[in-house]
């Protein structure tokens, strides 16, 4: 296990390094922050002064290495647009993204897994057919358009829920959160539901296909032959075995969810890190884009690692030597 951990750590650091090179040099090629930030009446001297102030007049390699050494100390530089440390911007917006993401995952698991087990156990029923059709529809609707539909129906036509923004926040351990007060919660519902619909469909399908596969295994036949009650069969023998892929994919998808929240946050003007990324891409705010992408890579590396370990713990057949 230890050598496995060490090898994985080595691989991960190489991965992060490669991505940092790609992201940093890629962003350098595309955007000239001076051109974006300079107003029309800037003279040539003003431009040079601005470039010096931003540090973009130095050779590329020097910039990269100073960036790397800063990152090692947790400093991702200063945003060109907001003129504040990038880390502060991201940390400030992270709670908003996380609370919606966790609400969406919770909804997905609570609704999706039971629905999936049910339809896996009752293949021929009409209700199963309609669940299966619903998941196909849910899979097929592009996230952003679904968000527009939600806004149109619940915000424009019925006027039940607000269409954009975060609303009031309550301080929880010094972190502003929305889910503890009514106004914040009402702002949260549409973005969370928008993210959750895809989750629900995915969990339903995973649980269903898992159930279908496990039901054919010999140990299930044996368990039934022993006369175990149906409830116990489902709980002890079925649920435990199908949970393995579900845990894995939910874990892997947590990163995807946070990454994908760019779309939801943009449509609902939810002030999370996803919206920050998109705004920064449009504003050519290089330090923010670079920091966001590097952090996402780091997060994926950590998530993949944790999921692998969880996998080993859940399935005794897997042993890393």
């Amino acid at each position: 296990m230890l050598s496995f951990v060490l090898r994985r750590l080595g691989q991960s650091s190489v991965l992060v390094l490669i991505m940092s090179v790609l992201v940093f040099f890629g962003m350098y090629v595309v955007s000239d922050p001076v051109a974006v930030l300079a107003s029309d009446d800037f003279t040539e001297e003003d431009r040079i002064a601005l470039a010096q102030e931003l540090g973009v007049d130095r050779p590329l390699l020097v910039q990269y290495f100073s960036f790397l050494s800063n990152v090692a100390r947790g400093d991702f530089g200063t945003s060109f647009v907001y003129n504040r440390p990038v880390m502060d911007l991201i940390i400030e917006r992270l709670p908003a993204t996380l609370e919606v993401a966790f609400l969406a995952i919770g909804l997905g698991l609570i609704i999706g897994v039971p629905m999936g087990i049910y339809s896996g156990l009752n293949r021929k029923k009409r209700s199963t057919k309609s669940i299966s059709f619903m998941t196909t529809v849910g899979y097929s609707i592009p996230n952003f358009w679904q968000a527009l539909l939600l806004i149109l129906v619940f915000a424009v036509w019925f006027r039940w829920l607000p269409a954009s923004g975060r609303g009031d926040t309550t301080m929880l351990f010094g972190i502003p959160v929305s889910f503890l007060n009514l106004d914040g919660l009402s702002h949260m519902i549409l973005p969370a539901v928008n993210l959750a619909i895809y989750k629900i469909c995915m969990q339903t399908r995973l649980a269903r296909s898992g159930t279908q596969e496990v039901m054919f295994q010999d140990y299930m036949t044996f368990a039934r032959a022993k006369g175990i009650s149906r409830a116990r069969l489902v709980r002890r023998h079925l649920a435990r075995n199908i949970l393995i892929p579900i845990v894995t994919i939910t874990g892997l998808e947590l990163g995807g969810l946070i990454a994908f929240s760019t779309v939801t946050e943009t449509v609902f003007s939810w002030p999370g890190i996803g919206k920050l990324l998109l705004d920064s891409i449009h504003n050519a705010d290089r330090p923010v884009v670079v920091a966001y992408l590097i952090l996402i890579v780091l997060m994926f590396v950590v998530i993949n690692f944790v999921v692998d370990v969880l996998y080993a713990l859940l399935d005794p057949r897997i042993r890393y030597t």
Partner: protein, 309 residues
């Protein structure tokens, strides 16, 4: 339900003539009306996309034909020049139906090109990895791991942020999104094929690696990729629409369905819903048709489920 599955006679019936390709095709869809509807839907959308310049009521690219007075008309209005607009018009007076028909062209073109090229690259790399092994395999499979550990939409977003936007750039970004899963899939099948005797026989006959790969390995390892291809295409259609909606996809001069939806986004809150909703409906209908067919193909390819059909 389990007893039924176990009791079923799984031995193939003897002395039946080998089914023709058409018969096998029909068998996949027989008794699955949803999948048939999906198939018909796909054909319709492709047909409309191809024929758009001839059947669209208006040419949305021809600025001379547009009249600003026709702007933001609800569905069922008659335009200034007498054309009947079934689905209404957008802010510039463009007929939504015509826009959707042309948008369909771009959406389908981008998705098909990207997935076909991406899959071809993936299949080639997967076969190469299986055939050569060693460091070739290590490099290819590490690259696959790297790609798959990253969410596709974010990767595309990043690439477009770096390289700029445009139809060609979107296609490149989607190609990069499409190859890895196919490489992994093909390699897994090809590795088990490699152990079979016909490959040894081909090797003994002195055939080149290239010939073994294209004539023997490829035809025997390709079917799982063909099964996931429709899903890949519908995914690419959705990804393209998302990127265009976010403003980093196709340019405004070549509006795909995603960009048409984005155009209507600003008018949604004032209740002018038709600009965004109709292109979206077409997008969903198309993706849904592809997914229904794709589900059918996947279920058919799964031997556990096929025994019960």
């Amino acid at each position: 339900m389990m007893e039924a599955a176990l009791d079923q006679d799984l031995t193939p019936k003897a002395d039946k003539p080998e089914p023709t390709r058409w018969e096998r095709f029909r068998k996949v869809f027989k008794g699955h009306p949803m999948a048939v509807v999906g198939l018909i839907g796909i054909s319709m959308f492709v047909l409309v996309a191809i024929l758009a310049p001839w059947i669209a009521p208006q040419d949305p690219y021809d600025l001379a034909k547009l009249d600003i007075l026709d702007g933001l008309l609800p569905p069922g209005s008659t335009l200034f020049d007498g054309t009947y607009s079934v689905l209404g018009t957008d802010a510039l007076g463009r007929d939504i139906l015509s826009g959707v028909m042309y948008g369909l062209r771009i959406s389908l073109f981008v998705a098909f090109t990207a997935v076909l090229v991406g899959s071809a690259i993936g299949v080639l790399l997967g076969l190469l990895a299986a055939l050569r092994g060693g460091w070739v395999e290590t490099i290819i499979m590490r690259a696959v791991d790297l790609k798959i550990s990253f969410p596709g939409i974010l990767l595309a977003l990043m690439l477009l942020a770096i390289f700029g936007t445009g139809v060609d750039k979107v296609i490149y970004a989607l190609i990069i999104g499409a190859w890895a899963s196919k490489a992994r899939l093909v390699r897994a099948v090809a590795l088990s094929e490699m152990k079979k005797e016909y490959i040894d026989a081909a090797r003994l006959a002195g055939l080149s690696d290239f010939r073994i790969m294209t004539r023997f390995l490829l035809p025997n390892s390709i079917s799982p990729v063909l099964v996931v291809l429709p899903m890949s295409i519908s995914g690419a259609i959705g990804a393209e629409a998302t990127l265009s909606f976010l403003g980093v996809g196709v340019p405004i001069t070549e509006p795909s369905l995603g960009l048409l939806i984005a155009n209507g986004n600003d008018y949604l809150l004032s209740g002018k819903w038709w600009i965004s909703i109709f292109p979206g409906l077409v997008l969903v209908a198309m993706v849904l048709c592809i997914n229904v067919v794709s589900d059918r193909l996947r279920d058919h390819a799964n031997p556990y489920l096929r025994a019960k059909d």
